[in-house]
Subunit: 385 residues, 2 copies
């Protein structure tokens, strides 16, 4: 009965160092983290004053190749502001994969907008552009240069692909589709710092994009995120909006917008700077681990380790064991066996359209996402492994 | 012409140590900050895993005497969730002072609710309960156990007093008023950690209340805040809502609400624990500084240093020089002179009803707040002074 699970467990056990530390994704602090944090505490610059936020933002923009990065408290906050920056309004529909962390949909909800769920494709584990195109041809109608859902009557404003576990979505056809349907592209690159699509860092094709530096991500700031954009004016406005929209003045308190208190504290940015210095090294190690996994499972019947698409270079944030349909019913055995024996694994997120608060949202056929959900297991992927 | 400003400057200059550090409120890190932060970095527990968040929450609840404290990313987020916890809905009106930091109103707006501005009283610098009572008698009407604004037709759901610069509002009449008008009391205690109303720590009379630990506050966590409540069930739900409303499970991802990603990272909570250990000492020093200011200005014609009301014991977060009406036109001279000469001072916030985005919100007569705004100057109040 549990033969498959036992065989997989044995392989994982042989690959992973025999330590207590076989969790899904541990942070790695082997650089200047201490020095920079100590500098913050010694100078008293832990909060909104201090040089690390500026420096972290420049490092992020340089690394990803965007015109401007704005550091904020987390990826969810970044996405909420990103959607606001591209004028997502109350009652607008926003297209996003159902197979993503719930924060992608929550950010849409915070603005009073409506998540509209899109299917995934097995090639990238992310949003399926071809299937979305046929769907939009069926439900979308253009009026006055805007796209409307002909069934709900709501405006469809944006598409938010998410680069699942670090694997880039096929962006070119999405860019094309957005142009044709007057939609704005917003990349949720929360998981894909260090991942490239056709040689360009993820986050460059969205009008606005976002990153996350939560504790389980490739680099961490404790909690943190960033807004990315190649539009300098929009970047400047993002900074303004995320810092309470205060008009600069030596002592006056004037604000010209309903802004947010989303600025990343200096002490968290300090950790981020130290982490960025190590990012290339982290990615090399993570790609090497992915190769070890791929090798180990290459002749395994019924299971494969997910591999980047031909157009992608992935950070392999979380490695994925993908079960064949016929073995999917044995996935729970593996989760049980590994988690009981000091190898942390987890299934995919529950598709968002299955969560109570989102079950009545508009959606297309989601059969691939529903199938993937049953077949995905994430396995330990820390830099230190 | 600038005689008054010069005289005040001379007094401030004689009180304040002749250092480079005469800013409004510097953090003070003289305890275990470094040990605890180093512990986080050494163990890799900087984010959502780790003991400091739990410990910080317990320290906060113990200190303030509430049943439950929930640590979050900042005071604004805390207030947004607090208002949600007491069922503030879209289109509801929420009564709050116009003389407060813009975040108080922003938190209301995030929920799609409407700030409704209330006047202040000179005795506390905060919301005037008596004036609010007469106003509600005029505009409020009770239907089905709820209060409605008879002019706008909107439900009035809550009152949010803010304890200005640490000075407690007169809460008892507010509690009474809330009972009579079926309103929920939510205390914005962002500035009043360590301040007591009739022997009880601020935040105890609100159904839900909030604190802030921004870099300029009495204690800081870099950025941070907390939700306080004496209702254990509500406290538990606050924790759930601020941590993405995930249902606890070893590996499954199920969420039962549109939650928030507002959890305070462990590394920020670590700083908070170290700061809490020093809080009593901080408050003693701040109260001693307030006395020195009061002594120095006690015979000064036309200016007084603001003193706590008889029912209050204040943390004196930011000391206040209050100009007499007739000298208010000389306040700008003082701001200019001090800020040009290494003594940081600032005026009150611009009353929120004067900001573009809130100018059309409902409001009562705001003449006291408008007068106070012209007469307040905050002066350096750091623990180290």
């Amino acid at each position: 009965m549990k033969l498959l699970a036992n065989k997989i467990f044995a392989i994982l056990n042989s690959i992973l160092p025999n330590s207590e530390n076989r969790s899904l994704h541990e942070p790695c602090f082997q650089g200047n983290e201490w020095n920079y944090v100590k500098d913050c505490i010694d100078t008293g610059w832990v909060s909104s004053v201090g040089k690390y936020v500026d420096r972290f933002e420049i490092m992020l923009a340089d690394y990803t190749g965007v015109a401007r990065a704005v550091a904020v408290v987390n990826g969810t906050a970044a996405l909420q502001v990103a959607l606001k920056l591209v004028d997502v309004d109350r009652e607008d529909e926003v297209l996003l994969p159902t197979l993503t962390f719930v924060a992608t949909a929550n950010a849409v909800s915070y603005l009073g907008a409506i998540p509209h769920f899109v299917d995934s494709e097995e090639r990238t584990l992310g949003l399926d552009p071809k299937k979305l195109l046929s769907y939009l041809q069926e439900i979308g109608t253009i009026r006055g240069g805007e796209c409307f859902n002909r069934f709900t009557g709501h405006r469809i404003k944006a598409v938010v692909p998410m680069h699942t576990f670090g694997h880039p979505v096929d962006l070119d056809p999405l860019v094309e589709l957005c142009k044709n349907f007057h939609l704005v592209l917003v990349e949720d690159a929360a998981e894909s710092l260090g991942s490239y699509y056709k040689g360009k860092h993820t986050g460059n094709l969205g009008k606005v994009s976002i990153l996350s530096f939560n504790g389980n991500k490739t680099i961490t700031t404790g909690g943190g995120g960033a807004i990315l954009t190649n539009n300098k004016e929009l970047g400047k406005f993002a900074k303004h909006l995320t810092t309470t929209a205060k008009i600069p003045h030596r002592w006056e308190y004037q604000h010209d917008n309903i802004g947010f208190n989303f600025r990343l504290p200096n002490i968290n940015a300090a950790i981020g700077c130290a982490q960025m210095e190590q990012l290339d090294n982290f990615i090399n190690k993570k790609r090497a681990l992915a190769e070890r996994y791929q090798d180990a499972f290459k002749n395994f019947d019924g299971i494969k380790v997910f591999k980047e698409a031909s157009f992608a270079q992935s950070n392999y944030w979380l490695n994925v064991l993908l079960f064949n349909e016929i073995y999917a019913d044995q996935r729970e055995d593996l989760l049980e066996l590994t988690n009981n024996n000091n190898i942390m694994t987890r299934p995919s997120w529950t598709p968002i359209h299955k969560l109570t608060m989102y079950k009545d949202c508009p959606r297309m056929d989601l059969s691939v996402a529903e199938s993937l959900e049953k077949r995905i297991v994430n396995i330990p992927s820390s830099v230190i492994l």
